[in-house]
Amino acid sequence: MKKLSYLVFIGIGLVVGCQSGVDVNEPPAGAPAFSGEGYRPIYASENEVNQVTTEAPQPLKKPGKIYVRGNYLFINEQGKGIHLIDNADPRNPKKMSFIKILGNVDMAVKGNFLYADNGPDFVVLNIADPTQVKVEKRITNAFPSPSYPPYNQIYFECVEASKGVVVGWEKVKMNRPKCFR
């Protein structure tokens, strides 16, 4: 009888020990519990990143930062590029074109030149003709892409360099990923 209770006791101890030992759902110290959603890197090949093209006006989907220069208005489409808008009449802004710039977040303009980040690269674009934007200069790896998304206290899939250049992050449903910040 005594033996049996010892066994039961040890058995319970093992189960409890195993649970706390291998429980992957235990959040890291100080971290909130995983909500079922995390950030996944959006990858592109170097070749894709290099393709800066002028396209027909596109719908606003996930607008990011904005920039104003004279009558022009620039709206970043997060990670995708920049909407060029004629804002001479603020009651009637007109989309002129969309400049596809993968990984774009930030921009600044002086005269006819638009300075933008293009993933890890820094590009100078000539926007004298907004329907035919030209790349004047590319400085590669001016903004080394961090291996984490631009948020704190979140879970994300760890970056795998072999998959390409990270040009953005998307929040999606996933199993709890390994990385957290």
Binding site: P59, D106, V124
Partner: protein, 253 residues
Amino acid sequence: MKNFNLATLCALCFAFALGCATDKSADVNPNSQTGTGGSMARFAIVGDVLYCVLPDKLQVYSIANPTNPVSAKTIPLTVGLETIFPYKNALFIGANAGMYIFDNQQPDSPVLLSSYFHVQSCDPVVVQGNYAYVTLRGGSGCRRMATASTLDVVDVTDLKSPRLINSQTMESPYGLGVSGDQLFVCEGDRGMKIFDLADPKQPKLKHVIGDIKAYDVIPTSKSLLVTGDGGLIQYGLQEGGKLEVLSKLAIEP
């Protein structure tokens, strides 16, 4: 009072137009070569210099030859740099550990004057006159220690010794913009708050636009541009500080 506000605004516009070679508010002059970003911007141009705020350094490029940026200076700082706001002869750099103030009388060679540290947060900054307005956003997205969000007023009369003089609780503040006697603070999904700056040391809440999503705001002479998850909205400033919707560019999911 209305006339006084208008006069103040005009005086400010005039002052900005005069100072526009070195002033952030260059957009007030539609013929200006350089534009302006919102308070969340990481890039800013002053004269022939482009500043890029990287997470751990301030990268200074000379764009004297506009098609060939040349690295002029790299200034390493602590990690967590987020925003840049040039104002007069200074650069205000918001970081998630505080704010750095640089003298940039020589734009290609900024010199660190002071740093202002507070609890860790996200903090875009805008400046007008002797006061910097900083939003500190608490919550899981930003601040590790989930404390209250605030709108702080920092006296920067002496750029070498910034002083916190006012702090008020906010909900979830993001970008902000200042123009004349009005301060616009974006509150994310909770809309935009408009503060009266009759006393620039003590912003007084006078109006809330609750039915929009506001992430960043740029006041220009023609319109007030507000961006967020819903798209871009432009407002006209009417007499007495009232806002009228001029146009919307809505998102198309």
